[in-house]
Amino acid sequence: MSYVEVSNVFQSYGTRPILERVSVTVEKGEFISIVGASGCGKSTFLRLLLAQERPTRGEIRIDGAPPAREPDRDRGVVFQRYSVFPHMTVRDNLVAAEALGANAAGYLFGQASRDARARADLALERIGLAHVAAQYPAALSGGMQQRLAIAQALAAKPKILLLDEPFGALDPGTRLKMHDFLRDMRAETGMTVFMVTHDLSEGFKLGDRVLVFDKIRWDPQNPEAYGATITYDFDARVALPPPAMLEEKTHVH
């Protein structure tokens, strides 16, 4: 049995199908890049993995657990924006990763709180944010905020990490640094990662596998009649297909 099993998932909004017959299995520790043209349902697929939405048909199981009904601690997530809490300092954002789920009220007290702060400081040291521990996220650059967001998601020790165009809002230089950072973090934790991106080269650079979402059926009179599915599943660890063929096959430019 595979770690993540997506079996025959359909998703439609009203009468409008978005995803059709999506089935894929992922092993523990794999890095999956998800690419596709805009509007091909790759973000919808991520929301399904996140359990923010439930599929109209089919099911998604992680580590054999029954399909989740709401986002939970098994899933860590980093969005393009708004992933850290603006009202907490950098350190408190990391502490919150442990505190929010600790009890019903989401507060840690006494020794537990001190321990969590010590762990947060260690993590900040490692990701190079120790010097801004007492500042608020608004004072941080976009790259630093995303680094914090990834560290925060990992601090809750999820089973899978979901990244929704995490570097989409960053400039190219920062983006390259973030790639290295993400690789290091992953090497350290052995995390199973799903990353949605619209940048093909980024997907192939970071991913072990690259899933391409596209529509296989197309009605020119009614472009919204059919949903998308996984059309290609590249193994990014072996030699890459030539770029021209990629563009043609994925419809991503």
Partner: protein, 250 residues
């Protein structure tokens, strides 16, 4: 400044015609009256009425606004965060906020009597619907990503309310209170004018009978000053407590 000069000229002109004119007393007379009001005690009770009025009014205002803020925060959070509560309560609050509070003042006097409770209740009833609507709107405007993020960190609805939504709308609450203070004063003075034994509004409407413009003006200036200082204090409090809210949050 211009207003003061205009007043002084107007007052001068009227008193040139009739030295006993009461409508626009001279600025010097107002200062004299203010000094008398602030320092001399009432012959009958031995209290300085000015300070007693101020204390009574501020107490009513603080109670009314405090109750309204608590209710507004509680219901605002519930309505903003929980779709079930929103579906049930939001239309009710919308209708409630359409009722002119002064129109229910007689009901309050009849039901709650002429004492303190009815005045505090008028202020609370007057501004609570506004606070609830404003705060629930702010909560609903929190990015969905933040709520999902909190859920993936294992937060319950209670934890999201307490640790994510509540701290983020606190600066908004203080701002909404600042905005509603104007109405709060209005309701306070209206309630005091109709039935009270002390209070700033009561005194103004009492001395109106004697055309004591110097007293009225002293009180009006004092109320304005109080309102200004309270507003300023709340602003400073917001900046002190919630530095992350920045200028945009104010």
């Amino acid at each position: 400044m211009l207003v003061l000069i205009a007043y002084a000229l107007g007052s001068e002109a009227r008193r040139a015609v009739n030295p006993a004119d009461k409508l626009l007393p001279a600025p010097t007379q107002i200062v004299e009256t203010a000094q008398r009001l602030l320092t001399q005690s009432d012959k009958r009770s031995g209290d300085i009425l000015f300070w007693k009025d101020t204390g009574a009014s501020l107490r009513r205002l603080a109670l009314g606004v405090g109750i309204a803020a608590t209710l507004g925060l509680g219901f605002g959070l519930l309505i903003g965060l929980l779709p079930l509560v929103r579906a049930g309560l939001a239309p009710f609050v919308s209708v409630l906020s359409m009722i002119p509070p002064l129109a229910v003042l007689p009901i309050l006097f009849i039901v709650l009597g002429l004492g303190e409770v009815s005045k505090v209740a008028l202020i609370a009833i007057g501004i609570t619907p506004f606070l609830i609507r404003d705060l629930s709107q702010r909560v609903a405007e929190l990015p969905a990503e933040q709520i999902v993020k909190a859920q993936t960190l294992g937060a319950t609805s209670l934890a999201i309310g307490l640790r994510v939504a509540l701290p983020q709308i606190m600066p908004r609450l203080l701002q909404a209170v600042r905005l509603s203070l104007g109405s709060a004063w209005l309701f306070l003075i209206a309630a005091e004018a109709i039935a009270a034994e002390n209070g700033l509004g009561y005194r103004i409407f009492l001395v109106r009978r004697y055309l004591a413009m110097d007293v009225i003006l002293t009180y009006v200036i004092w109320i304005t000053l109080l309102a200004f200082v309270i507003d300023w204090l709340l602003k400073r409090l917001t900046q002190r407590l919630y530095p992350w809210a920045g200028e945009g949050g104010l």
